[in-house]
Symmetry: C2
Subunit: 220 residues, 2 copies
DNA sequence: CGCTCTATTGAGTGGGGTCAAATAAGGTGG
DNA sequence: CCACCTTATTTGACCCCACTCAATAGAGCG
């Protein structure tokens, strides 16, 4: 019998089978599932049969080169929808950053519908993700290490709606693989931003933005 | 009276007013316009009232940081559609790489339609562009200079359907701004790829891929 | 308290950037 | 068609930001 499973588990656990009470943006009907920290949600090369909405926790989505270099494409936070692909095969792997609860819906429930409004919702979703990806391209292509870290913090603060006190759901390694840097460089950039009074690092998952506006200005 | 204008002109010139005879992918109804090399097609911050399909020539789409650093998000080649935005404002500027002919359609003709199949076409278009952008992220985040240039050449060859003889529609500066490098590094990478027998540079706009498969392998 | 995992800091290196000069490729006007 | 001018590309010399390798310091957990 499915239960709401917030406990650490080795395999994904169905949590409830009711559709979400309120659908914010896109109406998803599916099953909520729990994933333990680090667990794979869906893998590169698999058939893309489901789409996901983050209820609690956080997710990283990434691709790897054959020699092991990893690039994180995006992090997904509560409210975000991910996993909508064009063709049948997934191009990215998604993993839970922390213990995470997802709403899992059949892809067919979304895509095969001859429903104009729904298709437009999907389109909006795709365009919004495209814009995020293009911001990412700008950051990776033309910003220095500390600018990348600054823009990352600003973006995360906006998305979490957390104001000036950020609790990072991801490790330094994840940030590095998102920003195209190494963990050492991420760490040094944080130290440097702290030195110029932009932020205050209080434990490795806690960051206070002392001057959010100035931080945003760093990214132009 | 609008004419088919292939001549160099200072301002965009309407070419014909008939809809395209055959629509490949998305049925666009609009006006064909000619743009001289270097001319702006639409600018960052403007209202996004039109969408564009490349008939002849090529287009670069880019964003700039306040200090002048430029990041090219994508190049658009004959057959490609671009300029579909979510909100009202454009986030990127588009310019003609060479003398270019575009089919220009009103955005409203696409978006306001309550047409399921059309909305799905739009969605496919957006997802396809998203996938290209995510490939770009992987390249910028985790590949070395010569790997970037190699993957760029392979991708361009695929898209142009040109086989092993590539005619580049863009300058070294454009390539550099697309790949997050400098022109000097692009040039050195090309020289290096030539030195190991991968390509043959014959004039700055002509590149022959001697070993296309090996070149693709460089990008893993 | 000790073990393990993660993050920070330090020292040294190298890939790609900067600056500058040489070369090649286009245009333009005579 | 050629000489001249302008712009784009290549090459060289040198430097610096970010990477690598290594050691230290915290954090989390049993």
């Amino acid at each position: 019998m499915p239960i709401l499973a917030a406990t650490r588990s080795s395999y994904p656990v169905p949590a409830t089978e009711r559709p979400t009470p309120q659908a914010d943006d896109v109406r998803l009907i599916g099953v909520t599932m729990s994933y333990a920290r680090g667990r794979e949600i869906c893998g590169q090369g698999e058939r893309a049969n489901h789409v996901y909405k983050v209820i609690r926790g956080a997710v990283r989505s990434f691709r790897m080169l054959s020699d092991g270099r990893r690039q994180i494409c995006d992090f997904y936070l509560p409210g975000d929808i991910f996993g909508i692909e064009l063709g049948g095969e997934r191009r990215e792997t998604a993993e839970a950053l922390a213990d995470t609860v997802l709403l899992v819906a059949r892809r067919s429930a979304l895509i095969d519908e001859e429903d104009g409004p729904m298709a437009r919702q999907l389109w909006r979703l795709a365009v919004a993700e495209l814009q995020r990806s293009q911001d990412h391209v700008l950051t990776l292509g033309r910003r220095s290490a500390s600018e990348r870290v600054a823009s990352f913090l600003v973006d995360l603060s906006d998305r979490l709606g957390a104001g000036e006190d950020l609790e990072l759901p991801m490790s330094r390694q994840d940030i590095a693989d998102y920003l195209g840097l190494t963990i050492e460089t991420v760490s040094r950039s944080l130290t440097q931003l702290q030195a110029i009074g932009m932020i205050k690092v209080g434990g490795c998952r806690l960051i206070h933005l002392c001057r959010p506006a100035a931080l945003a200005d760093l990214c132009e």
